[in-house]
Amino acid sequence: MQTLTFAFMDPPFENERTVTFFRLLDAALDQKCNVKVFAYEGAAALSFALQRGHGNSVHGRNEKEESHPLTKDWIAALMTKAKQNQLQFEWVNCGLCVDERGVNEAIPGCGRGSPADLWRYAMASDNSLVIGTR
């Protein structure tokens, strides 16, 4: 079983890169890979536990109907999928990035670390992909 490391930088909601990134993580699990993620800069907010959906008067939908995507739910779903398939899924947020953005409450299972963890992950993996921001 192989292990792949990903580093990502974008926050939720600002860029299509975020969607492609999560699709890659899902594809990695589909290919039976263990996954390690280092969330840097804006990506530290992807796992923020206090993300909330909302209704949308322009769409004419209430909060439940709108069913707004939240990246914290995607992370939780990936963790569940990994567990169901006996795969590892590790997520660490850059701690300084968390602090300056005030997103200290992450969903369970997401850790706090530093770039040294990115290097440690990469050295413990078969390959790595870094997705920078623009």
């Binding site: 840097y40 800069e41 770039p115 040294a116 990469a122 050295m123 920078g132 921001t133």
Partner: protein
């Protein structure tokens, strides 16, 4: 494992983060044992010719105390054995050919860029 760090998003974080966050991360992982080279790509070619510490930002009475200093970042990286490169074409496109380069930064050709990509075990393009 040889790493090539390609840094391209120039000036994006220099004010708010008081450094270039990829040069900062590079210093961090270098201390963790990474063997790397750095390619200052695209607009980051400007980092190779900066002569001063960044000016301090002032907003409504708030004044920055610790503006970034790219020259120090490049010095620290090079002192740790990290090679720093910039391409002739990126300098030329931006009218920077002939300006004094930060000590130790090497100008390379596009063919030499391809060599850097080939010889690295990992290419992290930020």
């Amino acid at each position: 494992m040889k790493l090539l760090q390609v840094v391209e998003q120039a000036f994006r974080t220099l004010v708010e983060e008081q450094d270039d966050t990829i040069l900062w991360l590079s210093q961090s992982i270098q201390k963790a044992g990474a063997e790397m080279k750095i390619l200052l790509s695209g607009n980051c070619a400007y980092y190779a010719i900066l002569k001063r510490r960044q000016p301090a930002l002032k907003i409504a009475g708030w004044s920055q105390e610790q503006p970034s200093d790219i020259r120090q970042d490049l010095d620290r990286l090079q002192a740790s054995g990290v090679g720093v490169y910039v391409t002739r074409s990126d300098l030329a496109d931006r009218g920077l050919i002939g300006l004094p380069l930060h000590p130790g930064v090497r100008i390379i050709s596009q063919l030499e860029v391809a060599e850097l990509y080939e010889e690295a075990d990992m290419v992290w393009q930020w």
